[in-house]
Amino acid sequence: MNIDFGSQIPIYLQISQSIEDDIIRDIFEEETQIPSTTEVSLNYNINPATIAKGFNLLVDEGILYKRRGVGMFVAKDAKKTLIKKQKDHFYDKYVVHLLHEADKLGIHIEDIVKMLTGGPEYE
């Protein structure tokens, strides 16, 4: 779980996004327990309410579930759901930004395609 305090993204969203990434990267596997809000709170010195807000976003989406008295677990099929969700966001998150930057610098779409298909040898 990686929190960047200088980031433009609110802390609670960083919490939920980093858990998502850790699930996709198999750091947190399905049907296993993830760190508690207390552990995360004490590790980063962040108010537990903020951590809980981030966790609850994922509970609402069915990515995490609570086992009463035990803690928070990764749901079955969470990884599949998250990959689908992040694929859907890929365009908004990366492509729009890429096109915006390219437009600013006057780079044509064809050149972008060449960069993408040519790999590091491009130029």
Binding site: P10, I46, N47, P48
Partner: protein, 298 residues
């Protein structure tokens, strides 16, 4: 409910007004940040809440009972003051024992454990302590007091980075174990911003902000771009700061941008960013806008 409620509080020191008609509720089991510039009345407010001084007008209650001269209520509040109030020749372990007589729930084992963690020798006398260790000693007493309300006035004065981190961790651990009301009054805003749930900002003898940190930060943002574009954009908007650097301009706004506003930002080609608590505080309390003048060199 263990809320502290201040009703229409005014405090005058002779001809000077320190606080003017303040009404505030500190709700139980929340971590509060009490922020304000020097002389904004933070310490006055804390002294009033702990019955060390009396308001000129208004009254203060804890759990709906007036706190004035009410020892049973005041025992539920521990106030760590910025000034050292312990006798200079007293040893730290004696301070612990003495505190125990006033705060029955004082946890001596925990206090001794904290001495080890903070590397403080409890056999030392108060007068032998450096500024940093003096603060450490006061923090340990406060943390171990087990009071329902913990108030800290400048809790990190002179502490090194290691001790500050240790303090934040112990404070949070306590709060998680037994939720209590915690009020942190400090100038070191950036470091404590993420510990806080709620923030109260004092200025002009009154309360400027009393809001959850997340909702406050959600409605604050900056836009940057060409001066003429930024100036046109902020018309009829609640902007609290405007900085120029040549033809570049940065405006800080305090209002939730609606879809239309976001669209405009995108169309004009302005860059929108989030604002941190410290930066927002500076903007809100920069009376006269002195920070925007660039000092002349040579």
């Amino acid at each position: 409910m263990n809320n502290i409620e201040l009703k229409s509080i005014t405090k005058n020191y002779k001809a000077t007004c320190a606080l003017k008609d303040i009404s505030l509720i500190f709700e139980e089991k929340r971590i509060y940040g009490l922020l304000g510039r020097n002389g904004a009345g933070k310490t006055t407010l804390l002294n009033l809440m702990t019955n060390r001084i009396f308001p000129t007008h208004g009254h203060i209650t804890l759990s709906d009972q007036p706190i004035t001269e009410n020892d049973a209520l005041l025992e539920r509040i521990f106030y760590m003051t910025e000034r050292n109030l312990y006798p200079e020749s007293m040893k730290i372990h004696e301070v612990f024992r003495w505190t125990k007589t006033f705060y029955g729930n004082f946890d001596l084992n925990y206090a001794n454990g904290l001495c080890k963690k903070f590397d403080l020798n409890p056999n030392k006398k108060i007068k032998a302590l450096s500024t940093g260790y003096n603060t450490v000693a006061k923090l340990i007493v406060a943390l171990a007091s087990n009071a329902e309300l913990l108030i800290f006035d400048e809790p990190i004065l002179g502490l090194d980075a290691h001790h500050r981190t240790l303090f934040y961790k112990e404070l949070l651990a306590q709060y998680i174990k037994t939720p209590k009301t915690i009020i942190l009054s400090t100038h070191i805003i950036e470091e404590i911003a993420d510990l806080l749930e709620w923030v109260v900002i004092l200025g002009n003898q009154t309360v400027l902000i009393n809001e959850s940190v997340s909702s406050l930060l959600e409605r604050a943002y900056t836009v940057t771009g060409k001066s003429s574009d930024v100036e046109a954009f902020i018309q009829n908007k609640n902007f609290i700061g405007l900085e120029y650097l040549g033809n570049y301009c940065k405006a800080t706004l305090l209002e939730t941008p609606n879809t239309e506003t976001l669209e405009t930002i995108h169309q004009i080609g302005l860059e929108k960013s989030k604002v941190g608590l410290q930066e927002l505080f500076i903007k809100l309390t920069d009376i006269g806008g002195v920070l925007h003048e660039i000092p002349k060199i040579g």
